[in-house]
Subunit: 360 residues, 2 copies
DNA sequence: CTGAAAGCGCTAACAC
DNA sequence: GTGTTAGCGCTTTCAG
């Protein structure tokens, strides 16, 4: 690996001159600079960033921690963050903390050892798992910003959606088109999900609708969703609508409803939350709440970079709240009238038997 | 930021003793070690990896370059690679080269400056865009392995699927269930796509089926797919099956067919390629060719790490080929008999008008 | 404008 | 066992 010294020898100057030339320093003879740059290029010289980083005490890289990248929500933020970071001249160190978040602390510790300039943490859990690590980070002056609302973290920068508001809008929409027996499905532990559910319930209550135990399904995996849907359909009074806390779950709900030969939205309304690209692929297209991931990501990295640039002038912790909007698509309609679901035959794999038929 | 020196002072020993203690060196008094480790922990000491890296001339980091992370194929490889890398004790530097791949060279150069121990490159294009960079990398002894088949790169390690074989299996399956007017849709420039198409065509030819110009649609974006599907349906003799080169495109095809009130697979068979998780979500579930992404990723990082560990003993360039398998699901069926598509009314947003109806 | 020198924080001979 | 010393490759005063 060729070093500054090497090309200094080639050029017959000192290594500090080369350093200046390559850094485009103004206090250097333009001719020398030109000559050195050419020489360095020809020799295939590449700065050793690790040496440089050690000297300048900055790595120009930001660490991004996301739980995983299989749930389509996260890739979207990874992509946006990566693009923004690159644009701002930062490299990206990606850490996947794992679904159970046990590894969150390790991720942060590792990022810290690498001396990243700042950390973006998307936590999957409602609470901050690696609290100690984050506090230590803060104490040592490394900027960190959280994505999604986190409990007891008022002193930490974060950007989040007003999920509560989104949830209540969604509920009002369903109520508006006539639903009153509405099931909810998902798992509260997940990111921001607590709030959306809170808003949803609040709106129901406001309308005098009770959410019985029967209608609350806890599910995250494909198989759990399947069981949940089956159980809902088997109820004496099945719901006319299902609210899945996340689009990815809504997709599964629709899949299992279709497999069970139920038409969405004619026989069952399904709504989600997040407005993933996925929501527009589904058939029918999913009614959901748009999280404005773009805005989130933008504020997310802007805030971090701002913190990095002027680590001194602290304006106090920022809590940026982004208002989501309701996106009405084909997956919701008025409740069906007849109460026949409970009596119908259930075809686990019956989608081929009851796919759309056209007799025009 | 607290350094080795700091805790050396605290412990009243030299900094090298501290280094040894923390590294768990055998040639140190167990008591001292214990004492120092405790002290370091209490002081919240974290090694400065950038200093360490400079000294040991290795970063324990691998660079992963993927075009983007929105197409669900890539997140899957990112996740697998990240997990494997972590397991092997490597950090991950993620670089998104962008769809147009113009940035591929920049990504590699950046990774090289960072002195990553090795690079995993998933190229989106059929050819190697950043050829010069890769050659330079190779010349300077930094291991790199390519994912997906790349032209004129016999001297570079790579792992790829036998897409040609997958393509022909797919074609034979379609032929076997009676199709002969088959359309293809996608864009050849994309990763590995050339081969799958090659195999597909070869199998058609073998069966004496001609693929007319009409039936070949070039499309990547949603809108292009829509136009393509519309054009196919408007043909005097529309196809009875559509092969989309990638599952993500197949998803769009199904969406637009459904929007156009066509039942899959009753009125149109659709098949894809990749076997993304997505394929199982779609309704109907997509027949596709499984790329064994898991195996790919495993060999991908194993090979790289092997190269990193013993950079000397080169066994010559490795080309690992993984055989895909056909996954038959609900999206394909026998060709419909009547030739009515051309005459039917086309409802651009008509999915609600013709969603499944059940009159049992 | 350019060179000499110091040192970022760490590891690894080499002494003792 | 432990301390001393010499760098890893770079930036950046400080002199000239």
């Amino acid at each position: 690996m060729i070093t500054l010294q090497d090309i200094a020898r080639l050029a017959g100057v000192s290594h500090s001159t080369v350093s200046r030339a390559l850094a485009g320093s103004p206090l250097i003879n333009p001719d020398t600079r030109q000559r050195i740059q050419l020489l360095a290029h020809e020799a295939g010289y590449q700065v050793n960033q690790v040496a440089r980083n050690l000297k300048v005490r900055s790595t120009c890289t930001i660490g991004l921690v996301v739980p995983e990248v299989l749930n389509p929500y996260y890739p979207k933020v990874v992509q946006l963050v990566a693009d923004l970071a690159r644009e701002a001249g930062y490299n990206l160190q990606l850490q996947l903390s794992g679904a159970d978040q046990k590894a969150e602390a390790t991720c942060i510790a590792s990022l810290r050892e690498q001396r990243v300039d700042g950390i973006l943490l998307v936590t999957a859990e409602h609470g901050l798992v690696a609290r100690d690590q984050v506090e230590a980070l803060l104490a040592s002056g490394v900027p960190i910003v959280l994505m999604g609302w986190v409990e007891d973290a008022e002193h930490i920068d974060m950007v989040m959606g007003d999920d509560s508001k989104g949830g209540s809008e969604l509920a009002r929409h369903l109520i508006g088109i006539g639903h009153s027996r509405i099931a909810i499905l998902g798992k509260t532990a997940h990111r921001g999900v607590y709030d959306r559910l809170f808003g949803f319930r609040a709106a129901l209550e406001e309308a005098g609708i009770v959410l019985s135990e029967d209608l609350q399904i806890e599910a995250t995996s494909d198989i759990e969703v399947k069981r949940g849907v089956t159980r809902l359909l088997a109820l004496p009074a099945p719901p006319t609508a299902i609210f899945a806390y996340q689009d990815s779950l809504a997709a599964l709900v629709i899949k299992h409803l279709t497999d069970a030969c139920l038409a969405v939205p004619q026989e069952m309304t399904v709504v989600g939350f997040d407005d993933l690209d996925l929501a527009a692929y589904l058939c029918p297209h999913l009614t959901t709440v748009g999280g404005h991931i773009e805005s989130h990501a933008f504020r997310f990295v802007s805030l971090l970079i701002e913190r990095i640039r002027k680590a001194s002038s602290d304006t106090g912790p920022q809590h940026i709240v982004i208002t989501p909007r309701l996106v009405v698509r084909g997956s919701c309609g008025p409740p069906r009238k007849e109460e026949t679901i409970g009596n119908r035959r259930y075809h686990p794999n019956g989608y081929t038997q009851c796919a759309p038929t056209h007799t025009d």
